[in-house]
Subunit: 362 residues, 2 copies
């Protein structure tokens, strides 16, 4: 099972949404009791061996059922997924870090989560040359099969995502809010494109607004899911340097782009290089260092679709789905839906699976 289905997800969600139950304790409980449902079924005295009385009560009461129900409804919408520590799709690199979140909310192509990836981060107030460099590096690396991970901020982040989306590696945004919140609003169109052709990922529950404390916490996932981290234009004492520090602590390569000694936005990069980050002035420097054997990227040219085809594709999503469910979602009759599905299948966008189910494959 690559991602979690609704039955399993319920337990994970109820547990993860209990206020005050941290990742470390949650992993400890899972190690002790097994699956989330077993933790939730445990008796209060058993739980008290591991958690406070209040937490034991909250868990024994079944966790946060309402929020879990809302999240399950969200998960039922096309393209939305919950990926838990127990799933094959959970980012394997993240498991090597100190504090992998028990559960990730994913919107878009969950199969990207385990592709070789590079984080590209930098200033929100980037120069024209900086955003251009970020986009160029991202595009070249994505064309070589590397998935570009960033934080959906303005400036360097957005340019990196746009560049990444141009290539086969595509791009993943690790966001610091719930996935039903788009922040910053100016990146709404980019977020939409990532949801279709790349992915948006968050560890934060739906509805979580942009909170200052969550962004550094999010940054450790940006580096944690990546083989390395490239910093393009960063002032001293900026968030990008925090991400680079996490990358270093997680044993990932840190790369930095140099610039004029008079540019304040090069100072952060220069400081990183002085501390041991690798100077790069060419995307090949990174490919050589990562020694990634690149599958040269069968580039997929998306065919032009009419409105009906496009809508049906969005309703279908990347998970197997039977015809009835799809017709309900799309508000179509069976004959109309089957006709559209056949065309999409011929375009290489949809597969007809055994048992009469369909799945979007691109």
């Amino acid at each position: 099972m690559p991602t979690t289905d609704s039955d399993e997800a319920g337990g994970w969600l109820r547990l993860s949404l209990i206020p005050g139950l941290g990742h470390v304790t949650l992993r400890q409980l899972l190690a002790e009791f097994g699956a989330p449902e077993k933790v939730l079924a445990a008796r209060h005295p058993e739980l008290r061996n591991f958690v406070s009385a209040d937490l034991a009560t909250a868990i024994a009461d079944g966790g946060n059922g309402d929020a879990a129900t809302l999240a399950l409804a969200w998960m039922g919408e096309p393209g939305n997924h919950i990926v838990t520590l127990g799933d094959a799709d959970y980012p394997q690199l993240l498991l090597q870090t100190a504090d992998p979140p028990p559960l990730l909310y994913v919107k878009g192509r969950h199969e990207l989560l385990n592709r070789p990836a590079l984080a590209i981060v930098g200033s929100r107030n980037a120069s024209a040359q900086g955003t251009e460099s970020a986009a160029e590096f991202a595009q070249t690396l994505s064309a070589a099969g590397i998935t570009i991970i960033s934080g959906l901020a303005l400036g360097i982040d957005a340019a990196a995502h746009r560049g990444g989306l141009q290539g086969a590696g595509s791009s993943i945004a690790l966001v610091g809010t719930g996935l039903d919140v788009v922040y910053p609003a100016r990146n709404r169109a980019l977020a939409h494109e990532l949801a279709v052709n790349g992915a948006l990922v968050s560890e934060f529950p739906l509805g979580t607004p942009p909170l200052a404390n969550n962004f550094p916490r999010r940054n450790r996932l940006i580096s944690g899911m990546s083989l390395g981290c490239l910093v393009v234009e960063a002032a001293l004492q900026s968030g990008s340097l925090i991400t680079a520090r996490f990358a270093n602590e997680q044993g990932r390569e840190v790369f930095a782009l140099p610039g004029s000694i008079h540019s304040p936005l090069a100072k952060g990069c220069h400081a990183l290089i002085k501390q041991g980050a690798k100077l790069v002035d060419d995307a090949n420097d990174i490919l050589e260092e990562l020694k990634v054997t690149i599958r040269p990227a069968p580039r997929f040219d998306a065919p032009a679709l009419d409105a009906d085809q496009s809508q049906l594709l969005n309703h279908l999503g990347y998970e197997p789905c039977n015809l009835d469910t799809l017709c309900t979602r799309a508000g179509l009759g069976a004959a109309a839906a089957a006709g559209l599905l056949l065309k999409l299948e011929l375009l290489g966008l949809v597969e007809n699976l055994p048992g009469g189910r369909y799945q979007r494959v691109r």
Copy 2:
């Protein structure tokens, strides 16, 4: 005796001017026989144990008397010195290298030869920003008591000498010709100032013209007399990288200034940093590394700008940009932009580069 007097110098000169008698053999003969006069007084059969029959004949004949006489006359002029391996003034750092020349011709302040020194080298075709950086670093380091060593070439070398001459550390030019030849001619005034307030040094006999082979040989003295070598703007496969390689082989620190990833003159510096040279974007980086104690440099106080000036400056950035591109970025007409640029240039914030391009420099 800090430098050699005429009596002693005669022997050194006669020996050093014998064609075909290399440094290694000369040092071997000195080790065997003692002072140069004793080598010259040795009998042919004794010399034959160490050198060819022709060389033994040349030595036993008393060496090159005419050239030595001319050099002694030169040495008699004010400010001129011969410094030999036997002198206290001989650069001690040079003695630690593989092949110290037996004798140096020095014009100017010979007491500078044993000051803590830094080599600053770089492209002859440097950018305005590059020469400015070279001069600024040289001036700051010289003010801190470091003597600036370079090769009297156009571009970075000349700027480094000029900056060095501004401070207490002053500057030394290691030249690839005889000291009675000024090369390149455009640096005649600079050479004159170095002869008075700094020093000119050569291992080549008087009258030696600029020969291509002598310049790399000279480069090993530039690094050999220095605690470290700073490379400011260098193309790949340039002479500056040869000097940096010598510095590395001689166990000296190599420093390099970063620049735009799009500038060919930054490529050499970036290559050095990738190979382990220390990136520096501030003269204090070098002082810290060399562990020399230093006075702080006067700070540049940014002038107050109006909104239009400030905006244009931000659009310009620290990389060269032509007027059309800038007008597009800033949404301004050419006349308005040119007017603002002129004001910014007068404030010392912008430079007008060859080819109608502009660049922010502070």
